[in-house]
Amino acid sequence: MNRSGFLAASAGAATAFALPQLAAPARAQEVVDFSLVAAPLEFRPGPGLAYPSLAYNGRLPGPLLRVTLGQRVRVRFTNRTPIETSVHWHGQIPPNDMDGVAGITQPPVLYGESFLYEFAPNPPGTRWYHDHAFQMGALRGLFGLFVIDDPKDEPADAEFALVFHDVPKMDSVKAAMRGTSTAPMFDPMGSPEMAEMQPGDKMGDEVDYAAHCIDGGCYPSTTPLAVKVGDRVRLRILNASPTQTRYVRLAGHRLRITHADGNPLAKPLEVDALRVGVAERYDAWFEVAAPGAWLLEGISSDPLAYQQAAVVHTQGMERAAPVAAPQSLEGVEYSTYVGAGGTAASVDESGVTQRYDWTLDGGAYGERAWTIDGKSWPNTPKIIVNRGDRVLVRFTNHTDMDHPMHLHGHTFRIVSVNGKALARPLAKDVSLVPANGGTLTWIFDADSPKGRWLLHCHNDVHMMDGMMTEVRYA
């Protein structure tokens, strides 16, 4: 089967991805062909808004890639941008030379060149893809969602895949990389990010944003989510912001989280709001109990906060003023790892063969260095494993912000947070290590294809300024 034609047809307009149920289960070993072309785009998320950007297939975010577990994909990628780029399949475990990290697992793809990615997407769930060539391609718009359907998942009456993303001011990104940014902090009041902060406070690594979007639109130009009374609705949500944790709320509704980074939770968690770190994904469900119109919002204290909103409405309520929630977390119950995993007396460390106890530090005003165990890439300590090893990594964060630490090519389990052991360890590929002396511990099994797998902070500024290392198979 060749889906390239379908993708070409769907490129263009900014639209929420309403996901129809697949008509028939896919045949195992079926190969699905995709074509991705990265090129400059003037991104127009609403009237009067236009930003020079980069995009896949002429749309930002890039096209939703969707397959069923068991299928293989062949992705022909072509670079028509002036920068070096590559495509990383975030949250998947492909052969190492398909992981898409320029300079580590493949040469960068230059202007006019192509690269063929071929692998069997796995594990299933809400994953994504983005540039990984250290020239800020992802910051400028090279990202998209990748959903691998698991036939074992419970069906939803309606399903929407939504990318929450921001348009950074590139000057502020450059200043942030030098540690001399004067951009204000805009995390919501009541969030841990603002525990010792006030709106408008400035940090040297803060990025300033020109716009906040959902799936290529700024409210009210976002595509509404049409639902019916009685529907059980599944949202697949990605925070593609390069630096900001995003809180997501649907006014008037609680959200039931079933998957974190595409991996099922042992026990679903019901909350008022999702806390979605950079690069994290959550699958959250809600039930439509009555007719109405409500705003699905990315909560922040940015004056532009309401750009990142989309209407969820029932039939006949298309023209109703949607009910909105305040841009604050005061009195709002939001998701946490401890909430999702519950607590236990101790961590099960059986079978652990290697241990790493690392600090995260850096970010002095006017300095570029962000560090792991006191060193910046490429001088950071490495994890050298043999297949079959079980590795425990404990991070202690000496900075005053959470770091979204990401591991390529593996699914780790969060086994403890701030010294609290989790009763149900969370399977994830990116995790926020809490600030101000907080700790977070992973355990992962070295059972992936041999090669070099990056481990880094997914805040693009911190990654490019050295908060990166790797897991290398001996």
């Binding site: 609403g46 009041m189 408008g200 406070d201 009210p220 209407v311 023209r319 841009q327 005061e330 530090d361």
Partner: protein, 204 residues
């Protein structure tokens, strides 16, 4: 550790109080009481009004400019619209007091009726060689005059000061004025030891 550069910002306690107050309130009937423009400014920041109405609420493409809105809609009409908005304007579930604060703030964006500065307008607008200058004062002045000036290179042309006459509305004063030529003029209004300048372009 990162180094914090703290800017002058809204006090944390005030912000929290606002956030708490904004929650859970249904849409009560708008009250006629005068709002607090300072509290309204904080609500504008908290609710992200600039996201749609643009920087300074001067229009952003997604939603209209609110600059000078008090000249087009009454406070009651504004309150009613905020309490029962039309899509895509969201329903924020604000209390009557919060709506009054918002109305006070947005009505003063141009120094308007409830702001601190007089609002100068002309009839017709833009003015022709013979026009009426209309000035709405926040509080009725003891006396007021208008002078029209025009800069031509290093030379300044100006009319004599013309007394502004009261009208049926105690806040509104007006005067007839004659411009000697078309072009860019400035209307200089003096009142009670203060003054305000309003640029106008005279046709013909």
């Amino acid at each position: 550790m990162r180094q914090l550069l703290r800017a002058a910002a809204i006090s944390c306690a005030a912000f929290l109080a606002l956030a708490a107050g904004a929650m859970g309130a249904a849409n009560p009937a708008p009250t006629a009481s005068a709002g607090n423009a300072g509290a309204g400014a904080k609500l504008v920041a908290q609710f992200g009004c600039e996201g749609c109405h643009g920087a300074g609420l001067r229009g952003g493409g997604a939603a209209p400019s609110l600059f000078g809105i008090e000249r087009r809609l009454s406070a009651a009409q504004l309150s009613e619209f905020i309490a029962h908005p039309q899509a895509p304007m969201p329903n924020f579930g604000l209390s009557g007091a919060q709506i009054a604060d918002l109305v006070a703030y947005i009505s003063g964006l141009d120094g308007g009726a409830s702001g601190s500065l007089p609002v100068v307008s002309t009839m017709p607008s833009p003015p022709t060689s013979n026009a009426t200058v209309i000035v709405r004062f926040p509080t009725p002045p003891h006396s007021a005059t208008v002078t029209a000036t025009m800069q031509m290179g290093s030379m300044t042309m100006h009319t004599k000061p013309i007394a502004l006459e009261p009208t049926g509305d105690p806040h509104v004063y007006k005067a007839k004025i004659q411009f000697s030529m078309g072009g860019a003029w400035t209307l200089h209004v003096e009142y009670d030891g203060k003054h305000v300048d309003d640029p106008v372009t005279v046709g013909g």
